[in-house]
Symmetry: C2
Subunit: 406 residues, 2 copies
Amino acid sequence: MEGEPTLRLRIFNLNCWAIRYLSKRRQQRVRLIGDTLRQEGFDLVLLQEVWSEQDYSELKAKLAGSYPFSHYFRSGVIGSGLCVFSRFPILDTLLYQYSLNGYPYMLQHGDWFCGKSVGLVVMKISGIIFNVYVTHLHAEYCRDKDAYLPHRLVQAWELAQFIRHTSKAADVVLLGGDLNMHPEDVGIRLLRGWTGLQDAFAEAMRFEGCKNGCTLVPDNCFTDKSELLPFPLGIRIDYILYKAISSFTVKCEELKTTTGRAPGTDIPFSDHEAVMATLHIQRQGQPAGATLGTPEPALADVVAEARAEVGAGLRAARRQRYSSGRMAVLALLLLLLQAAAALATLAGLGAEQPFPKLSFCLLAFLALGVLVLATGLHLFRTMEVKMLHGTEDQMWMVLRALQERP
Amino acid sequence: MEGEPTLRLRIFNLNCWAIRYLSKRRQQRVRLIGDTLRQEGFDLVLLQEVWSEQDYSELKAKLAGSYPFSHYFRSGVIGSGLCVFSRFPILDTLLYQYSLNGYPYMLQHGDWFCGKSVGLVVMKISGIIFNVYVTHLHAEYCRDKDAYLPHRLVQAWELAQFIRHTSKAADVVLLGGDLNMHPEDVGIRLLRGWTGLQDAFAEAMRFEGCKNGCTLVPDNCFTDKSELLPFPLGIRIDYILYKAISSFTVKCEELKTTTGRAPGTDIPFSDHEAVMATLHIQRQGQPAGATLGTPEPALADVVAEARAEVGAGLRAARRQRYSSGRMAVLALLLLLLQAAAALATLAGLGAEQPFPKLSFCLLAFLALGVLVLATGLHLFRTMEVKMLHGTEDQMWMVLRALQERP
């Protein structure tokens, strides 16, 4: 039905890199982001890495006129960093915190403290129900030897499962976020294959911005140039994905990225480029059919590939759980030995204490410290093993179902 | 349409109390549970507190004939303890881990280590889509001064939100589990009010079992009699809840509980009684309408009451976060002071070290220990504050929407 009215939706997505005390020129950039959003008047704004609630409050106050509806998702120690601003009322929200998200002792990476999550906001625009998801997955610190790949794959899987299970009554699904994966990575293929989401960059009728739609580019003065050496054009890790579930079609009329600096200024919004999409949503005569969960021919291969990576992560986690357990047992044995020696000395069994008191005490404290740390690590690894194992199982179930289908 | 065929579904729910090394006569009871389930041939079995994967595997092997489909939900250090056995194929699963679940340092309670969660399995029986949820909420250790009430309320809220968001394509929703709340508690009223779930015990046409449907009764040889002193008949904390979403009606034909011992034996299945429901599901001529989210007249009051409790928890968590932060700062100051004293001695500023070396070292280790523990506690309390605040916010949003409705 060509005559049906079209809904035009302008979406803005940005990883804001707004870490208090650490991100360069944070306050200036947050002000700039707020000013631009107010001027441009998008319909929907999806932000990541707004770590400080004060930054969110300032944005909220500034944007109250043009985006009267907003939501900030709280989680973890620092916060999820995720928030949404909207021209249209937010009817409902839900937060799903990923079960794996790096390691608390990797302080220099800090992902664990963020409680990485996916946030869902439900909206009704012109009678169309939108499920809008915003997320930020675990960062990739070393592509060649990516220790976090299994965790990121678990996150991509949980994201896909969360979208599938929560979007069944939606007409249109939108996902924006920093997925920390290149377009050809197994996690993206898994997410897209298992949810049926389409990539706005690939589908856009018009594109304007960094070459290949990159969102981490050498032209941006805040990016780490050494990290981008293997990718002279930059990399694409920030996405807007979409799909229609019921009797609607979604088309991406235009996709834009910023190009190393905010429009009309000399500094960028962030170390990431913003992604801006203009979508057309139109009611179809007939239901679009089972877009949800339609298996692409190659889906089973993708799930198998992801499952192999998760399995490798599981084996590594099991080895590390064993090591930390062994370390805890050794420390406990040392402590017991020391206790026995101390008791023997007290009981007057030994003629004289063989060690100087200070070294003896220092050793005991060292052993106690190792025992506490190794036990904590062992518990953490046990959780990691449980979640990797659970995901591997789920993937296996899906794989079997896919292979059994004609 | 009276002529539509009726689906009759027999459901078994039990908190199995199967903690390795701790629960009395565990192996015997798990065998007994397995034997009974095999004999009785229920359609659907929802179990909690199956902490050991070995117990699950043994049950799975024993029940392979009568319940060919099953799922075990892994989470936390110990596991979620949740599993499902079914006569009908399980199409899909999803696990949602509650964001708050007690405190890791409350070792004697141990809830934190279990990663308490809600598990979802999706099934299609006779063309009817069932969303089946199984869960176990945080225990109540002291009813008069329930320190975990805010956490349990956050869990009840997250459970309700998870069910609402994931069940939109389901025809029938079933929830079984140990909710650790009495029927009149605010958490149960919140859960039922916000999801529209009905209580099988209250709706049952026939009931047989412990008086008032109690599931923790003094007649059970494993229950702690002192805990039940204020409740001579026992308490009801295990539930089967249900609702129809689309054009179906669900009726509870019969509800049964065990009565302090397993049928035909002298020992109980567990310290909890099993709950067994026989449901009738029938297609209606017309859609049942918006059962989902229908606000009961008193719903706003219930949400406000729950929000007040969460708010009280938030204030307490903030105070404790402050205390732990202050403790960490004091320990750090002491350490710095000691470091300065040690440096001064080394530099020959003081004539002689004023403390004996051993006491000096012991004090430093003590300060270090306090610093590490207080910092850990501070981080944990920060997460707690975030989640309580987030839930309070969500409840406020819902409250506002409920009050704005005509």
